[in-house]
């Protein structure tokens, strides 16, 4: 029997790969040396408790469900790939990447998303000239903390308001992407505004991200909703811990 899903997956995979291959040199995280040392240390200090909490969460939840570690492995590897894949945005003429934090937070929780994001960002900073070691804390906070908590919170709130799964997941992906870049803007503005106004600089950086991240956020929303729809149809038991609007 011919599996008709195979060519569909092949075309999608080829499209994603073709987009990823031509422009590997462009990074989207805060690069090495951009943040002054006190700010770099502050963001490390902010990120640390979230990562520590996530690690504790991993031990507890792995004992409860044997499939949980493979799920964390899958989400971690996917987040690594998604967050170093530059996607060209024709409306802006630039490249950027989705964060993947929204779907990760829905599947494994915001605490563990901080853990997998910190591993992905460390590998990218060390070997892919993507981000930096001094700015690692800031990048973990924007992607692994802000992106994850906003995605998770939006999903939980949307479910509580009675929105269907697909719509809630779309909103989670959309807002987690935008929250990631809003936090990056905040980190940059806080460290670099100098004698000028923080609010003005924050607004300017945020506005500069809009042409690229507005369409990419929408794309991330669809990716998030599609992934959740697939898991619900194939292995709904993996979504047992997914927030229904209350429990973490």
């Amino acid at each position: 029997m011919i599996d008709h899903r195979l060519p569909i997956r092949t075309i999608l995979a080829a499209a994603v790969l073709l987009c990823a291959l031509p422009s590997p040199a462009f990074a989207m995280h805060i690069a090495e040396g951009i943040l002054p040392l006190p700010w770099a240390l502050l963001w490390y200090a902010v990120a640390f408790p979230f990562v520590a909490w996530g690690l504790r969460d991993l031990r507890r939840r792995s004992r409860e469900a044997p499939w949980f570690k493979p799920l964390v492995g899958l989400v971690g590897a996917a987040l690594f790939l998604i967050s170093c894949m530059p996607i060209p945005v024709p409306t802006a003429g630039t490249c950027s990447h989705p964060s993947g934090a929204g779907i990760a937070a829905i599947l494994i929780g915001p605490g563990l998303t901080a853990v997998v994001a910190s591993i992905a960002l460390t590998l990218q900073a060390l070997f892919l000239a993507h981000g930096g070691l001094t700015t690692l804390g800031a990048n973990i906070v924007s992607m692994g903390v802000a992106g994850a908590w906003v995605g998770w919170g939006v999903f939980a709130a949307a479910r509580r308001f009675g929105l269907p799964w697909f719509a809630a997941a779309f909103l989670a992906g959309l807002f987690s992407d935008w929250a990631t870049y809003a936090t990056t803007s905040l980190e940059l503005a806080a460290a670099l505004h100098g004698e000028g106004s923080f609010t003005t600089m924050f607004s300017l950086i945020l506005l500069a991200f809009v042409p690229t991240q507005l369409p990419l956020g929408i794309l991330e929303g669809f990716l998030c909703a599609g992934a959740l729809k697939f898991i619900r149809s194939r292995r709904p038991e993996l979504l047992r811990a997914v927030p229904e609007g209350g429990a973490a």
Partner: protein
């Protein structure tokens, strides 16, 4: 048919970036260059060379390809563990 239209639309949108360039001389730079480094330079700070600088010639292409292959393998491996392929029932009479 509906599924095919959706797949082709998503693929077309993804590929539209590298293929067409509606704003003329689009450079396809990352937002790190067009936003982050631009504002950092205005504030008197510039990006430093990374600790392990793989951004030299085609070395970065190689490490990105390697990262994609290793990451892709990991995704595929865990995907198969979590979503084993469905067994196709074979009708012995056919």
């Amino acid at each position: 048919m509906k599924k095919w239209i959706r797949v082709l639309t998503v693929s077309g949108l993804l590929l539209a970036g590298p293929i067409c360039s509606p704003i003329g001389a689009a450079s396809w730079s990352g937002v790190d260059e067009t936003v982050i480094e631009k504002f950092a330079e205005q504030a008197g700070r510039s990006a430093r060379e990374p600790l392990i600088n793989t951004d030299q010639g085609d070395l970065l292409l190689f490490v990105f390809l390697l990262a994609g292959a290793v990451g892709g393998f990991a995704v595929g491996y865990w995907f198969r563990v979590l979503f084993p392929p469905r067994r196709v029932k074979v009708n012995p009479d056919v």
